[in-house]
Symmetry: C3
Subunit: 266 residues, 3 copies
């Protein structure tokens, strides 16, 4: 049993309404902002090199998401991330598409090398794309099963000294030692764009409330997964599911969160 006090985390989030600074991709900006607002945080999107350092100094957490990346945006991400590190603002990375193109994979590696990341969240192939840099023989391709992903997640977490969160039918969170599985979620999450990115933002929201990255990542995925689960009980198709998901992010009470999060250690 995982004994996090999820109820208090959510209560605190909604009391504080922390500002979450997102440097994220064009596709998901709107949905990410709506996710953060619905669950109780305050989103801001800002990417210009002329303001990211100042903006992140106002924030409770920084989300860096490399979807629709360009070189210019990568420079802003690095600058914002470095300032966040100086200030102790947690940095949460979503390496969208890493492994698909060398530009994205290289960006992921650069961000890992240059920044102290609190949590990295991705799907298995994105997360595992970091490994080959470190000379591991096991390629991304071999880690298709859930158990392979689990071992690889621990390995990556140790390599990059961050908490790693891998989302899938069962979500996995690890700091390289402890492993927590989250059994909430719903298959329709895979048919709405930006749900992974929004889960990353949910982690950031909780990481502005607790500095414990493992707890924040677990809370974020459990909360977002529970919202998906509740939405899936109301809607059978992706359009109405997306709306029910935003509703659920708002409607879940702290007590309901504590009771319905299905977490398992090990």
């Amino acid at each position: 049993m995982v004994d996090y006090d999820l109820m208090s985390l959510l209560e605190e989030l909604r009391e504080k309404r922390p500002l979450i600074h997102n440097i994220t991709n064009y596709v998901v900006m709107n949905f990410t902002a709506n996710t953060l607002l619905a669950m109780g945080a305050s989103p801001v999107m800002a990417h210009s090199i002329d303001e990211v350092e100042e903006m992140v100094s106002l924030a409770g957490a920084l989300v860096i998401n490399i979807g629709t990346l360009s070189q210019q945006w990568l420079e802003s991400m690095l600058q914002a991330g470095k300032r966040a590190n100086e200030l102790g603002v947690p940095v949460i990375l979503d390496p969208v598409g890493s492994g698909a193109t060398s530009f994205r994979t290289h960006a992921f590696r650069t961000l890992v090398k240059e920044l102290k990341l609190s949590v990295v969240r991705g799907n298995p192939s994105e997360i595992l794309s970091i490994i080959s840099e470190h000379g591991k023989t096991r390629g991304v391709e071999s880690a298709h099963g859930a158990e392979d992903a689990l071992e690889a997640a621990k390995e990556v977490a140790q390599e990059i000294s961050s908490v790693v969160a891998i989302t899938g039918p069962v979500d996995i969170v690890t700091d390289g030692e402890i492993i927590i599985r989250c059994h909430n979620g719903h298959p329709l999450l895979g048919l709405v764009t930006g749900t992974g990115c929004a889960a990353t933002a949910a982690i950031a929201a909780f990481n502005s409330t607790t500095t414990e990255a493992l707890e924040a990542a677990t809370a974020g995925l459990a909360f977002f997964g529970l919202a998906g689960q509740l939405a899936g009980a109301k809607a059978n198709s992706p359009g109405s599911f997306m709306i029910a998901l935003l509703d659920a992010l708002h409607d879940i009470t702290p007590q309901e969160f504590q009771e319905k999060a299905r977490l398992e250690e090990g």
Copy 2:
């Protein structure tokens, strides 16, 4: 009592379906376009320095919104705005995030200095961020109450020779002399991203119908606020509220607009 002929304004808008040119932020582009379409206007988004002058010459109004701003976009905004001024196309400004970073605050001031703005719409802190430039002693921080915001709105309107619209629990519109309050609206508007930006676009839609900026700003906020109010009667959570809001923007009849707008002068 405010005796604007809101019914005729909405009828005319829906007959003309004016093209509204938006240079706005990435987060809200989709929702802004859907807002304009639903209420009866024709949105176009174009930001390239290679076409903004030509595009604005086709438009009934220009929206400039400085969320997710970069230096390059600011240059396009200035170029489009200057051309709009030459052509007599009303320019409506939304200074998103002014006051949060010096880049945004400076952008707001530059746009105010370089352009003739018809209406500026923001929340209290955004609007008040313009004041310090003019050597006022009262800082942004002191104007937290509704009455403070009201006096400051008049002051800003006089300073920048534009109509100022401040949205909040009660919306305020002023040309520096006359003050109109709008009592429509709904708290859930604060939990959907881009509703302020969409209200700005609604003002632009009406400003393409009437050149009276005070009337246009009042009509825009009353119309958008009424849509929020009607949506809030149907939905209790932000996802379904957002959809009900788009529906209401489309479904409100001219007569209903006239009857249900809750405006008050002074």
Copy 3:
């Protein structure tokens, strides 16, 4: 009667879940991604010159959409398109706003000249904006009627050696010889932003399944139009229509697609 095996096309699409690479405009990215996911494809958005060639090599089709265009993006479109041509990946073009500004019209012409396009989809004025380049005397302005558009569509298709798809109350698809009309669709499609762009993406999804461009364009417009028609039977206002549309894109079965597509040749 048109005797395409639409049932098998949709079945194959949903089995393969092909990756569709989109270089598209900011306004519609989210809705396009959700459209592709709902109907059974896998969207990716990537525009950086540093990765478009590599990304398109993974894709079953490439969508180029010139809304919110800038010079930098146009260069990426050309580079991605040329690589797609080399690899035999079908390229589908949506010339959003061509005819409105010279920048967009010039971009349309440049893309037509530099790339081998499988399908070009637009509204009548966008499609017809290409003609004047070729010295035709009939201007865009004269082709307001459906029959004019039809003749012009054939002419354009012959000129640019691509299948041309024109959407409107009745959709038209032609390769310059054969003409197919699609009678599905719904008026509310015109009140949701990005539905034209999403129809283009639907064509791309089918073009990754069949290399026959005429068949792919017909299937894409019939499928998207049918989804609109079914959504219009459930919703009367644009917000709820948009959600019902995403639901329908997911819920239409291969058999229903075959039975309800209303196609007519000639």
